[in-house]
Amino acid sequence: MPVNFGATATDLIRFLPEIILTVMGTALMVLDPVLHKRASHAFGHLSIFALLAGIGGAVYAQSNPGTAFGGMLVVDGFATYFRVLVMVVGILTILPSYGFLARQQAETSEYHALLLFSIAGQCMMAAANDLIIVFIGLEISSISSYVLAGYLRDDKRSNEAALKYFLLGSFATAFFLYGVAITYGTVGTVNLTAIRAALSGADAPPVVFITLAAALMFVGLGFKVSAAPFQVWAPDVYQGAPTPVAAFLSAGPKAAAFAVFLRIFLTAFGPIGADWLPLVWMAALLSMTVGNFAALMQTNVKRMLAYSSIAHAGYVLVALTAQSDTGTAAAMFYLAAYAFMNIGAFAVVSHVSGRGERYQNIDDLAGLGRKQPMMAAMLTIFLLSLIGVPLTGGFFGKFYIFKAALESHLVWLAVLGLLNSAVAAYYYLRILVMVYMHEPGEAAGQTEPLTPGFRLALILPALGTLFLGIFPTWVLDCAGKSATLVK
């Protein structure tokens, strides 16, 4: 029997970002005993280097787009966009982590190795064109995230966060896998392009089964993007997880899960779009409403940001509901803008909460504007962007999403979404009032020294948010060109 090993040079180049990240992740584990203690910052530097190399690899792979490993992977503009996005999120997570890990006296090598593996899994999800690869990528990303959420083992909340995330996450994965199994049982393939071909063919299988499979996968992915009604884990996990990790969870895995969401539902399940539309419609509306109204009542900033992240997942689902290239481009733009503003907001919270993460309440931000004007200014940019005020990335994100919804004649969804944004403005503004109009409390007065890494971690997201708000066309063009998925 002639043995033909599948990997050619082209295959490997199209898999380059994941290879770079995995090799560096493994190298960090090996280097741990060598560099231990003497150079705990080295692991962060190496990880940032690996992520930059990974971005280079992703861009290089894009120069020759196409499928790899017999259709298991596909490198197209969409995949490259999300690969670059999750790696940028990774860099923005590592920058504030230097100071954070030193403050908590935590090990640095495993932290960074887990982060790199998690990002490798997310890159794989972005480029996956086969449900097997989607599943493995999802698991790599999730398992590293579970451990990262519980990284501070002495902290009870961190333990609780990890356990809840793990149990509910495994449950959601089981739902997803069940959907994959039913798809395979009905169509006989798990390749997304092949599923689409089978569904649009003349002898298409019964739509009931495929809709059931789509619904089960929707449950699994809905959990990963924290869309209502699968959102219960998010507030507890974001509150308990170390703050840089919470920022990462709200941006990286979420963006990758949405990439998979868009690809599976628009490519594979595109032909039965009318059947799953009500499901996504309702989840979008529910996520926006539940997220925004629950956020109104929070006193803990991290919990509030968690509920706001549920609401933002709802906005992106609106873009999916549009089922058009405009909608996909809007979702891609929104996820980039959201990553910048949310990571920035979490970085400020991380700084204010201080050693041992004591100060996490909204009241603790009182008087920040007077004591630390630069920090307050940064927070203002991020919160205004989360509201969706013009000149910030958040504004154009929302604008394009609702425009896409209107173009697809989803007038009611757009109207309800806009009303929701108005509700959201209230709780973001409440923080700003606290920052600028109240007497300084004990938390605002404490002056942790700002490390250079942390400064970058604030400035880069702020610049990103403003850039997307003032010159949105560049990224939008990029997203628009890649929004046509391989079908």
Binding site: M1, V3, N4, F5, G6, A7, F15, E18, T22, T26, M29, A68, F69, G70, M72, L73, E107, E110, A113, L114, F117, S118, A120, G121, M124, D130, I132, I133, I136, G137, E139, I140, I143, S144, Y146, V147, G150, Y151, R153, A162, P206, V208, F209
Partner: protein, 166 residues
Amino acid sequence: MDVILFLVFAIIAVVCAINVVVQTHPISSAVSLVGVMASLAVLYLLLGAEFLAAAQVIVYAGAIMVLFVFVIMLLNAGAEAKKGRSFTAQLLGLPLLVAFLGLMAYFVQRLFPQSTMVHFGGFRGGGAAEIGHALFTTFLLPFEVTSILILVAILGAIVLARKEMD
């Protein structure tokens, strides 16, 4: 003959699976799980998946179950304390389960009327050579990438379980 073998082992698998959940002592649950794994192995064998059947016995019924039992022994886990289940769960759990299974059975019956009985021995290609060939050609990428998944799991276990050094 096919039907009898299938029915016997399918019923054993389902009964053991229910027993895993019903038992209060973890060891009894673990032993029931061995029953599930073993009868699944027989079902695989009937379908012609010899390699999968062997792997099922060696890996699941053997290695993983031994690990389970060791952990239960080391933790010295006692019988599970009975907690009152929520009223809704008690009221709706069983009927919903039956309704779901009934619906699934109905759909399969209704939507695939042309499906016929599997004839055991009709399928070949579950041997070690065929599986190995598939793993290293068509499924090369998932096979290799799974190693990263396992590496992450090991790293995670070490991070969460190690003692503080200082």
